[in-house]
Each structure stands twice: as structure tokens, then as C-alpha cells.
Amino acid sequence: MSTATEQATTPAPAPQQQTVTFKILRFNPDEDTAPHWQEFQVDVYPTDRVLDALTMIKGEQDGSLTFRRSCGHGICGSDAMRINGRNRLACKTLIKDLNAKKPITVEAIKGLPQEKDLVVDMEPFFQAYREVMPFLITSGHDPSKERIQSIAEREVFDDTTKCIMCAACTTSCPVFWSDGQYFGPQAIVGAHRFIFDSRDEGAATRLEILNSKEGVWRCRTTFNCTEACPRGIQITKAIQEVKRAVINS
């Protein structure tokens, strides 16, 4: 008992600040012809996020460092970037989960045009999403009551409703890097969310769109998207479900 009490009253050791090197791939379209690496030293706590470090660099060392962030809590999907070679949200990546003894590399997501530092042009990504018609399609008169859906029917597409459109999946896909015309994992996730919605009547049209040359068949099941998704969506599984729906349609 006494041991347990002692353990309970012993305060947790205070987290120690450490100096961490951040190696950031910079690009200024007004001055540079090609991106280049720049290193920054930052004093951070292990419990800090990469976003905190970037904010410190921008605030205290170099105000020209450019990156997107909005909510800072893994919901808005603004700060997807490549941290130590993998697509992550800067606001969900803690320093303690990275090897802080080595420089932490931070790059823009791959496959979309780099505009400045960690900011890319998201338009091709959003365009692909728009093309799969990510909205409820129904026919007939407006219903006079709710569109009823059972728990089981809702469960079918529950996973793909979690998408925050951060582009971590699409820009982790080797097929998308070499073929920017490919719809990409996110657009297929967006389509999956409606294709398998029992209230929706546009599945046939969406499946036809995704049966095109740049549709679901471009997926090579590398699972990079599933691994990169900050929302834990089983993206490759969703793409495979759409593939099978195309075959069965």
C-alpha cells in the first residue's frame, strides 16, 4: 500500500526542453530557381508538435517561412506536410514521436506544384474531388420527412465520412506523383462516401467516372495512402470496395 501511495504522490518528471534541428525545404518563387534546404535550431519540449516548432521559427527566426495552418487540432486539414519523409499533419505530430537527435526534415507534400516553402497549389486536388460529385444526388420530390437510414446502412460508409481533405493520402501515392491526372485516393474516398450511402441515387454515374482510365484502376495498392491518413481511414480498403462495385455494377 505504502509503495502505491508513494508512487501516486511522486510528481511526474517535468519535461525537459531540448534543442532540435529542423531541416526545411525552402522555396521562394521570386528568388529561387529550385528548392533548397535550410536548417533551424529550435528549443522545444518533447510534447510540442512540429507545428509549434514551425510557428516558433516563423515568429522568432525567419518571418518569411511560409506554411498553412488553421485550426491546429487535426480537423481543418491545412497543415499536411512531409515530415521525416512521410506525409503527416504538423499539428498531430509530436516531437517525442520523431527521432529528435537527428535533424527533422520538413517538406511540402509531393505531386502538387510547390508555390512557396511548404505551401502547394491544391487546385488539381480539389478539381479531382469536384469531379466525383461529392454531394447527395436524389430524384423525385423533396421528401416531407427525414431520409431514414438504419445504423447498419450508415456503418457501410462511416469510415470515409471522416476525411478532412488534407491531401496527405493523394500526395503519398506514387501513381499520383507520376500521373497528376489520376483522381487520387482522396477523390475516391469522397466518392465512396456517397456511392455506398443508401439515400443516394448517383452511384452509377460516379462508378462510371471512376471506371475511366484515370479512375480506380490506377491504384496499385501500395498502401501509402492508408498509412498517411491522419484520420485513420482505411483508404486502400475503400478503393478496393469501389473497384469491386465497378465490376458488379
Binding site: P35, H36, R82, R86, R220, Q240
Partner: protein, 130 residues
């Protein structure tokens, strides 16, 4: 907008590297088939030309390449089955990493006796044995 590809290699996990290996082994097998069709077609030119060409294959370097070919075909075939299961088995995506580890184990288990047998024959041939 920057176009130059500076930056690190994407650190994908086993799924990505299994795909890279699938591509490489696929290209290797394709080039083998190309050469194989060409040298077999030589028999239409003349049986002597065919025999002369096949005779040049009888050396240890080609022997090692043959072992490599078996390895490439075996990986491509086993991983092909894994990809079919990912495509058509609803639990395929969930067990993709387990399936990859399984095929690597099968690959190693089959390659050890294959390599030993093929190397033994190659050495016997060089030393003028049976």
C-alpha cells in the same frame, strides 16, 4: 512554381516497397521473355545457330542470372497472388502486411533448395561432371 525534384525519398512502408519490387521483377521477367523468344526463334534460322547461341549460356554468370530469374518469377507470382487477394478478398487490405511477410517466408524457403540445386548443377557442368 518549383519543378526540380529536390527532397527526400518518400519513406513508404512494406506496401510501397512490395510494389517497387513487383515492378522491378516484372521488368526483369519481361526482358528474359524477350531474349527467350528471340533465342528460341533462332531454331527457325538454323539448328546450328540455335545450338551456338545456347552454348554461350553455359557459364557461371548466366547460371547466377538464372537463379535471379527464378527468384524474380517466384516473387512476382507470389506477390501477384497477394495483390489478387487484396483486390477480391474483402479482408485482403487488412491482412496485406501479413500476406507480404508470408510470401517472403515462402520465397526464402523455396529459394534455398532451388539455389543450392541450381548452383550444384552449374558447378558440376563447369567441372565436367554429370
Amino acid at each position: 512554381m518549383a519543378k526540380a525534384a529536390v527532397g527526400t525519398l518518400y519513406r513508404g512502408k512494406d506496401g510501397m516497397w512490395s510494389w517497387v519490387a513487383h515492378r522491378i521483377t516484372g521488368v526483369l521477367v519481361f526482358f528474359f521473355l524477350l531474349v527467350h523468344v528471340l533465342d528460341t526463334a533462332l531454331v527457325r534460322v538454323s539448328p546450328e545457330a540455335y545450338n551456338t547461341t545456347i552454348e554461350t549460356y553455359m557459364n557461371p554468370v548466366v547460371g547466377l542470372m538464372e537463379i535471379g530469374l527464378v527468384g524474380a518469377v517466384l516473387y512476382h507470382a507470389l506477390n501477384g497472388i497477394r495483390i489478387i487477394l487484396i483486390d477480391f478478398w474483402s479482408k485482403g487490405p487488412k491482412y496485406q502486411a501479413t500476406m507480404l511477410r508470408t510470401i517472403v517466408v515462402i520465397w526464402v524457403l523455396l529459394m534455398i533448395p532451388t539455389a543450392v540445386t541450381m548452383l550444384t548443377r552449374s558447378i558440376q557442368h563447369m567441372t565436367g561432371g554429370a
